[in-house]
Symmetry: D2
Amino acid sequence: MHVTETRVRYADTDAMGVVHHANYLVYFEIGRTELIRREGLPYADLERDGLRLAVVEAALRYRHPARYDDALLIATAVTEVTGVRIRFEYVISLQASGRPLVEGHTVLASLDERGRPRRLPPELRAALEGMVEAGADEDR
Amino acid sequence: MHVTETRVRYADTDAMGVVHHANYLVYFEIGRTELIRREGLPYADLERDGLRLAVVEAALRYRHPARYDDALLIATAVTEVTGVRIRFEYVISLQASGRPLVEGHTVLASLDERGRPRRLPPELRAALEGMVEAGADEDR
Amino acid sequence: MHVTETRVRYADTDAMGVVHHANYLVYFEIGRTELIRREGLPYADLERDGLRLAVVEAALRYRHPARYDDALLIATAVTEVTGVRIRFEYVISLQASGRPLVEGHTVLASLDERGRPRRLPPELRAALEGMVEAGADEDR
Amino acid sequence: MHVTETRVRYADTDAMGVVHHANYLVYFEIGRTELIRREGLPYADLERDGLRLAVVEAALRYRHPARYDDALLIATAVTEVTGVRIRFEYVISLQASGRPLVEGHTVLASLDERGRPRRLPPELRAALEGMVEAGADEDR
């Protein structure tokens, strides 16, 4: 499981005084971006090669709110990889206390620049599949 | 089922040329806000009375992307109401063609200003329960 | 001067309980988009023809805050057009009271798809120049 | 001049493939937040004491676009402090090349929780005034 840190921006909050619920999808995105970067395959490079990873499914469970300026930990795991899809699972927690705030998953589909299904580049698929095994050992 | 319209802002899009996936949660929010307004109970008024409706669960299924300037229809239904929770279901479609783009649901919890559970105001609960019955007749 | 209406989304607010100041640039964008649409030249069509209008300068003066669910009026005027630049001026006010909230301007540069300067399409330039004259008569 | 780093989120981009112009105001906000934090006066703490710093004026000049995943440097300086106002100036540049992308300023007014003018807390004012002097020596 890959852990990255982010800090809540003022613009991420809403009039309820907490992070607007849509922004946890943005934090999930930061989590998987950093996980892929760690594998030496930055998503910006994959995009330059014509790959698009589009979110086709998402789910979130909100337990406690994050607030402005909170330092958050985003734990991200790859839990399934097929030729054209990747499933990521996430837990966002408060760095200070470790308290879990939001958890969820997203499923991403591999597309070409025109939005048509395209198989994952073998290098990326292999790297991600490697993480699934590791994930299965460590986290279940 | 209540239908409201919104138009995709340029700021809602991302570098993939389509609406960023987090923004459909914002469209869902517009849908339920307008549904509640139609009942004569604007959410802004409910907030002034100390009520907070916090999203505790959300799920989305993305079928086709929306693009800049698309006119979208947000169909919103109340599908469950308890003393402290409301479940809304949504279908977002293209106004021009009727093509469904994204569907999903959210569960909202009724809280007081300090974030503690608080029963829904009877008026709001009754109005929402009325819609569940109507929804069941028309849409299932 | 072209006037369009928009309503404050919950996601536009921040923990101060009012619209986050960055979002007025988004409202300005809605204003100029609708002004151009009224001329029969939707920006989405212009983009399909390879035109990009990029903001190169912006300024805002914040007098009073907008709040969640406020209906806002965005008044937009074209105040200068050259071969490659357009200057828009804006006043955002509360629909209910007419109270002005935020005013400002943006300068947009005409670019091609690769971000290089490109002269405005003659049709668009003529339409915009026509509005400058009209604006000078009516609004000054 | 205080320099902080931030990375462009995918959600910060728009369909033009670059950062949406409104988001540089969010980056400016990160810059001044970190500058104030460095002085040992986190804005979140100031807010808990009932202080609100509201943006009353902003201006930006966009020279080159930032793109997804770019590491940005936000240089922030305090250039004026009065009893109720602070002026910050910013330059955002690419970390990789040092290329300046966007520059601008904001003026913030000191308010109480109800939005009425309130003098800056002496501690904060003194800290900020100290930075103005330093800024004048080093940067002009």
